[in-house]
């Protein structure tokens, strides 16, 4: 599984982003996206296209963790979202290593039909593994843990009197913490 994680300000300014691969099931933590040459651009594009869904869900569901909210079938990319009460959005794009059998992305679309626990994941790996199925309850829980840990560090960042809303987060310590959270949960 490859991951692209980004934090967007309430006005959609990117504050932080990072790409990494799974460290579970023997993963080496390195991202291997389907389209290596354009991954950076594609990932940002996919994440930004899911914002309409986020904005809709944001007012129907008061949870901070909105779970898996969107799928982009052409890249088999799954988006999970976490909203801070102060309006920042944490978005995690996950992309399974191989093109899964066509059932996985079949129901998904840019318009945002939800694939909660659709069970359409790849049949190539065991169903309980985080890396295997982007919409399984185990994955949802792992992502929740990841988001929660990032949130804790995010709060530490914004508590500093010199941090202003919308400022890019440049701290290498913060980056290290997000990397560690990724390694721990994903």
């Amino acid at each position: 599984m490859s991951y692209y994680f980004t934090i967007l300000s309430p006005t959609d300014v990117p504050l932080f982003n990072i790409a990494f691969g799974t460290s579970k099931s023997g993963g080496d933590g390195i991202a291997r996206f389907r389209f290596p040459d354009t991954a950076q651009y594609m990932n940002q594009f996919i994440i930004h296209s899911s914002l309409d869904v986020v904005e809709e869900a944001q007012w129907m569901n008061g949870n901070m963790y909105l779970k898996h909210i969107d799928t982009y079938p052409p890249a088999s990319a799954y988006i999970s979202a976490f909203l801070t009460p102060s309006g920042a959005r944490f978005l995690l794009l996950h992309q399974p290593p191989q093109l899964p059998s066509n059932s996985a992305g079949a129901g998904g679309s840019m318009s945002g039909s939800l694939l909660l626990g659709s069970g359409g994941g790849s049949s190539r790996a065991s169903a309980s593994s985080v890396a295997a199925n982007p919409t399984s309850p185990q994955t949802e829980e792992a992502v929740r843990q990841f988001m929660t840990e990032v949130y804790e560090n995010y709060v530490k960042t914004v508590m500093s009197p010199f941090y202003r809303q919308g400022m890019e987060i440049k701290s290498s310590v913060f980056r290290g913490r997000v990397t560690a959270a990724g390694r721990k949960w994903l």
Partner: protein
């Protein structure tokens, strides 16, 4: 938010190299920003940074009320040197409170979350529900009246009311009978209209805005015989908020 704006924003960070496979090489520093000044901050040899300090460490810590009063008075005096009148001064105090509101909001949720899921670190899942973001005006007001006030002043606010006038359904009032920020501040006679609680009004405004409820918040003196410092915080929500409120009500969102 329009699509073009989003794409513009999306491209404003240029990432090092088009090749994402190279990410491992650049893992530590892979956002390259407009400013290239950043060598990163120095940290003490024990490597203690803000990220090593638990967010709850000062949760129940106390300091002297006099220290707060002295600092706050300096803040007001300083602000006064740079303004043209009472309204301007209140606006400035409001602006200084605003970012605090955003911070406190995140801190508040972190703490509620941390206490509702404290056992989850060991067990694989938890049944305790983390706190919800307010979607409607009423829960937002309760958040301010209760948890926010307790975090700042160790007690809830004294009253919460909705405007009775049919012309101003977007107006709500939160009352503090004895605001801490006014206890040690003696306002000169010629400035009797000034209410330094404008700072707190700014905090409230930050909380509202942060939660997506655009609002203007002002502080007004409403003394009674028993409470000479009594202050009403008037919250006026924007039209878009009121419209969304109607939509959500119809959709059954609480």
């Amino acid at each position: 938010m329009t699509q073009p704006a989003r794409h513009a924003a999306m491209l404003s960070i240029s990432n090092g190299g088009p090749n994402a496979v190279a990410v491992d090489k650049q893992q530590s520093q892979h956002i390259h920003t407009q400013s290239q000044s950043s060598q990163g901050l120095r940290v003490p040899s024990n490597r203690k940074t803000i990220y090593d300090r638990h967010l709850n460490r000062s949760r129940s810590a106390e300091l002297s009320r006099a220290s707060f009063a002295f600092l706050f008075a300096e803040m007001v005096t300083y602000a006064q040197r740079r303004v043209t009148g009472i309204q301007d001064l209140e606006r400035r105090l409001n602006e200084q409170g605003y970012p605090l509101g955003l911070r406190l909001l995140d801190l508040l949720y972190y703490r509620t979350m941390a206490s509702s899921t404290s056992s989850s670190l060991s067990s694989s899942s938890t049944s305790a529900a983390p706190p919800n973001r307010p979607l409607r005006i009423l829960p937002l007001l309760h958040l301010i009246h209760g948890p926010l006030w307790r975090l700042l002043f160790n007690r809830p606010a004294d009253a919460l009311e909705h405007s009775v006038s049919p012309e101003t359904p977007n107006e709500y009032m939160i009352t503090d009978n004895d605001p801490l920020v006014n206890t040690y501040i003696s306002v000169p006679k010629e400035m009797s209209m000034l209410n330094c609680a404008a700072f707190v009004a700014g905090i409230i405004e930050g909380v509202c805005d942060g939660c997506g409820f655009e609002a203007k918040v002002t502080a007004h003196n409403q003394p009674t015989e028993m409470w000479p410092g009594r202050t009403i915080f008037l919250l006026r929500f924007g039209e878009s908020v009121m419209e969304r409120e109607k939509v959500l009500e119809r959709a059954g969102v609480k």
